[in-house]
C-alpha cells in the first residue's frame, strides 16, 4: 500500500481484521489443506465396518424449501428403516442448506465435501446448482446422487453423477402421444415458465407430440418466478382455438396458474396436461378443487396401487403425518442406491462407491422397479395421473401407464 498514509497519527485499524481472520480460523477443522491435493475425500479403503459420511444437500430455505423437507424425510425414513445403516456401514449424515440458487447451493456442496469429507453427496433441487457442482464432485471423486434436479444434460455417464429422479425432457416426451391421441387432430397450446427447465419440458413434449401428428396452436413462455397473473396468456389461449393446453409450472406458480385456469373459465372446457409437478404435494393442497380434472405425467403417485408403495406410504405417513411426494421417493431411492453400492463397495471412499454404483442393478422402489441407464439417469415408467377427489381430499389418481 502507498506510504502516503504515513502522515496520519491514528493507531492502526488492523484489530478488526485480526478478528475477521480469527473468525475465519474458527471455520477450520483441519489445517493447511488448501495447498495440496488431499486425494479422494472421505472414508477409507480398508475394512467394511467403519462409518460412512453422507452429505444431504437440499433446500432448507427459499422457495424450494418444501421440496427439501420432503427429500430429507424420504432419506431419513430409509435410514430409520435400516437401523441408520447403508450397506452395513453406520451413517453419519451431514446436512447442508442448498438454498434457492447456485450462489448458496454450490458452496454448500463444497462445504460437505472439503470440510466434512463426506463420501457421497445426495440431494440438489436446482438444476443450475447441480450443473455448477458437477466439476467439484468429479474433481474430488465424490459421487453425487441427484435426487431431484432434472436438467437434460446433467447426467452423461460420468462416474460421479447419478440421478435417482428424472430428466425434464423425458417427462415432457411421455405426454406427447397421449395428448396427440386425445385431441384427435386438434391443436394444443403450450406454455411454460421461461427458464431452462421450462424450455426442456416443452421441447420434449413437442418432439413426441408432433411425431405423433400433433399440431401446436401457439407457445408462451412466462417470466419465471415473476408471473402472478396469467390472464393475458389465458386470453391468447382462448383466442387460439386450441383443443387442449400443455404447461410446465411448479411451486407457487403452479398454484396460481391452476386457480386462474379455473377462474378464467378454461377448466372443464380445455383439458390441461402437464408434468406432474403441477399438482404434486403441498401445491395440490393449495390449489384445492380448482385442480380437479388436471392430467399429469410423473414417475410416481402416492396412490399407486402396489404392495411396496402401500407399505411405504403407510410408514411415511406414520412418521411425518403427511403422505409422501415424488420428492420424498426420489430421496428414499437415493438412499436405496447408496445402500446397494456401499454393500458392494471396497471400503467407504467416494471412489469405491462410484465404482460400485455401476453394478447395483435394479432398485426396488415405491414407484416400481427401475435401474440406471447408460447416462446414469433412471430408466423408469411414467404414470398418467388425474386429479380426483379421494377420501374427501384430492389426489393424483393413476389412470394409465406411459412410455
Amino acid at each position: 500500500m502507498p506510504g502516503s498514509f504515513r502522515r496520519h497519527r491514528r493507531h492502526p485499524r488492523h484489530l478488526s481484521v485480526v478478528a475477521t481472520v480469527a473468525a475465519l480460523a474458527l471455520g477450520a477443522t483441519a489445517c493447511g489443506g488448501s495447498l495440496s491435493d488431499s486425494g479422494s475425500a472421505g472414508g477409507d479403503a480398508s475394512g467394511d465396518s467403519g462409518a460412512v459420511k453422507v452429505g444431504l444437500v437440499v433446500p432448507a430455505s427459499g422457495v424450494y424449501e418444501p421440496l427439501g423437507v420432503d427429500m430429507t424425510n424420504g432419506f431419513q425414513l430409509y435410514l430409520n428403516q435400516h437401523d441408520n445403516k447403508l450397506g452395513g456401514h453406520e451413517v453419519d449424515l451431514v446436512k447442508a442448506d442448498e438454498g434457492e440458487t447456485p450462489d448458496t447451493g454450490v458452496p454448500a456442496v463444497q462445504k460437505v465435501i472439503s470440510q466434512d469429507k463426506v463420501s457421497a453427496v445426495v440431494g440438489i433441487v436446482n438444476s443450475a446448482t447441480a450443473l455448477g457442482v458437477k466439476e467439484i464432485v468429479t474433481q474430488n471423486k465424490v459421487p453425487l446422487i441427484v435426487a431431484n434436479a432434472g436438467a437434460d444434460d446433467l447426467a452423461d455417464g460420468s462416474d460421479y453423477i447419478w440421478r435417482s429422479s428424472f430428466t425434464n425432457g423425458s417427462i415432457g416426451e411421455s405426454l406427447g402421444k397421449p395428448v396427440a391421441d386425445a385431441v384427435k387432430g386438434g391443436t394444443v397450446y403450450v406454455m411454460a415458465a421461461d427458464y431452462a427447465a421450462g424450455h426442456e419440458y416443452v421441447a420434449g413434449f413437442k418432439k413426441a407430440f408432433t411425431a405423433a401428428g400433433g399440431k401446436i396452436a401457439g407457445e408462451a413462455y412466462t417470466p419465471f418466478g415473476k408471473t402472478a397473473d396469467w390472464q393475458p396468456y389465458l386470453s391468447k389461449v382462448q383466442n387460439s382455438g386450441a383443443k387442449a393446453v400443455y404447461v410446465f409450472y411448479a411451486g407457487a406458480e403452479a398454484v396460481n396458474f391452476v386457480k386462474q385456469y379455473k377462474s378464467f373459465g378454461l377448466a372443464g372446457k380445455l383439458p390441461l396436461y402437464a408434468p406432474g409437478f403441477l399438482t404434486e404435494g403441498g401445491v395440490l393442497k393449495a390449489q384445492g378443487k380448482a385442480a380437479k380434472g388436471v392430467r399429469t405425467s410423473l414417475h410416481y403417485s402416492n396412490l399407486l396401487d402396489t404392495t411396496e408403495n402401500k407399505t411405504f406410504v403407510g410408514a411415511y405417513t406414520k412418521a411425518y403425518d403427511a403422505p409422501p411426494t415424488v420428492y420424498a421417493v426420489q430421496a428414499y431411492d437415493a438412499a436405496a442406491v447408496l445402500d446397494k453400492a456401499l454393500a458392494d463397495a471396497d471400503g467407504t471412499s467416494g471412489d469405491a462407491i462410484a465404482k460400485a454404483l455401476g453394478g447395483i442393478g435394479e432398485i426396488d422402489s415405491p414407484r416400481g422397479t427401475w435401474k440406471f441407464d447408460a447416462d446414469h439417469n433412471p430408466d423408469e415408467p411414467y404414470f398418467l395421473r388425474e386429479v380426483k377427489e379421494v377420501d374427501g381430499g384430492l389426489g393424483n389418481v393413476i389412470i394409465g401407464n406411459l412410455e
Binding site: 402472478a228 393475458p232 386470453s235 384445492g288
Partner: protein
C-alpha cells in the same frame, strides 16, 4: 375481433392488479413523504396480511367472516406500523433505515415461514365472490371486480381525509416541510405515528385482499416490496395521486404489456421504471406541496 375487444379484458385485469398494488404501495409512499422513512419492511407487513387470511379464512367463509378478517388485518397492521414508527424514529439516515427495516423484514420473514411453513398457501375469496361473471363472452373472476371497487372506495376515503380534515392538512403540511411543521410547535409525532400505522394497515389489508390472487408464501414479501417501490417511485414519493397513477401504470405493464410484447415480458417492469425516472426523476405526479422525491 377488434384490438380493443381482444384486449379489453386484459386491461380490466390490469386495473384489478393496480387496485391491489395501490392499496399496498400507498402506505409506503405516505410514510416516506411524511416521515422521510424508507420502510423496506413494508413487503413483510403486507405478507403478514396474506397470512392472516390463511389463518382465518377457509373456502366456506361467508361475507361476515371475510370482513372480520379484514378488520383483524387492519388492526394488526396498525400495531405493526406503530411499532415500526417507534423503532425507526431515531434513525434519520436513509441507508441506516434501509439496514434496519430490511433487517426487521428478514427476521419477520423467517418467523412467518416458521409459523406458517414453507409451502405455498392459498387464501380463499369470500364464498359469494368465489365464482366468475361473464364479460364480453369470457369468464372473469367476480372477486377481482370486487377488489377494484373496494380499492376505489378506500382510495377516495383516503383522499377525503387528507384533503378535508385537520389531521389531513397537517399530514400534507408535513410532506411539504417537515421542519417547519415541527418549528411552529405542532405536536406532530402522534400524527406521524398515525400515518405510519395507517400506511401499514393499508398494506396488511392489501396483502389480505391480494391473498386470493397471489397466495401466500415465504419470499412473496420481496416481490411485493419491489413492486411497491416501483409504483411509488414512478408515481412520485409522498403523493397519493402518484401512487394511483404508478399502480395503474405498473398494472397495465404487467398485463397489457406482457400481452403485447411477450418476448420482452421479463424486462418490461424495470425497463418502464428506468424510462420514467430518466424522463421525470421526481416521478409522474410528485407530491404537490412537497419535496417527497427530492433527490
Amino acid at each position: 375481433m377488434g384490438w380493443l375487444d381482444a384486449n379489453l379484458l386484459t386491461m380490466l385485469n390490469g386495473l384489478a392488479l393496480a387496485a391491489l398494488l395501490f392499496l399496498i404501495a400507498v402506505g409506503l409512499s405516505l410514510v416516506f413523504g411524511t416521515m422521510d422513512v424508507l420502510n423496506l419492511a413494508h413487503g413483510v407487513v403486507s405478507l403478514t396480511g396474506a397470512y392472516i387470511g390463511v389463518a382465518l379464512l377457509d373456502p366456506a367463509t361467508g361475507t361476515i367472516g371475510f370482513i372480520v378478517a379484514m378488520l383483524a388485518a387492519a388492526a394488526i397492521g396498525l400495531v405493526l406500523g406503530a411499532v415500526l414508527a417507534a423503532v425507526t424514529s431515531g434513525v434519520s439516515d436513509h441507508l441506516r433505515q434501509a439496514l434496519l427495516t430490511l433487517g426487521i423484514a428478514m427476521i419477520a420473514g423467517d418467523v412467518l415461514g416458521e409459523v406458517f411453513g414453507s409451502d405455498v398457501r392459498s387464501v380463499p375469496p369470500p364464498a359469494f365472490l368465489g365464482g366468475s361473471v361473464e364479460i364480453l363472452g369470457r369468464s372473469y373472476p367476480a372477486y377481482r371486480l370486487a377488489v377494484i371497487v373496494l380499492s376505489l372506495i378506500i382510495g377516495v376515503a383516503l383522499f377525503l381525509v387528507l384533503e378535508r380534515t385537520k389531521a389531513g392538512a397537517l399530514v400534507r403540511a408535513t410532506v411539504a416541510d417537515r421542519t417547519m411543521v415541527e418549528a411552529i410547535g405542532v405536536r406532530s409525532r402522534l400524527v406521524l405515528g398515525g400515518v405510519f400505522a395507517v400506511g401499514a394497515a393499508l398494506a396488511t389489508l392489501g396483502g389480505l385482499l391480494a391473498g386470493p390472487v397471489l397466495g401466500a408464501q415465504p419470499g412473496l414479501d420481496n416481490t411485493v416490496l419491489l413492486l411497491a417501490l416501483v409504483v411509488v417511485v414512478i408515481g412520485g414519493l409522498g403523493s397519493i395521486r402518484g401512487a394511483v397513477l404508478g399502480a395503474v401504470l405498473v398494472g397495465q405493464v404487467q398485463t397489457l404489456g406482457v400481452s403485447l410484447l411477450p418476448d420482452l415480458a421479463s424486462f418490461l417492469l424495470f425497463g418502464a421504471m428506468a424510462v420514467v425516472l430518466l424522463l421525470k426523476p421526481a416521478g409522474l405526479l410528485p407530491a404537490r406541496y412537497g419535496t417527497g422525491a427530492r433527490a
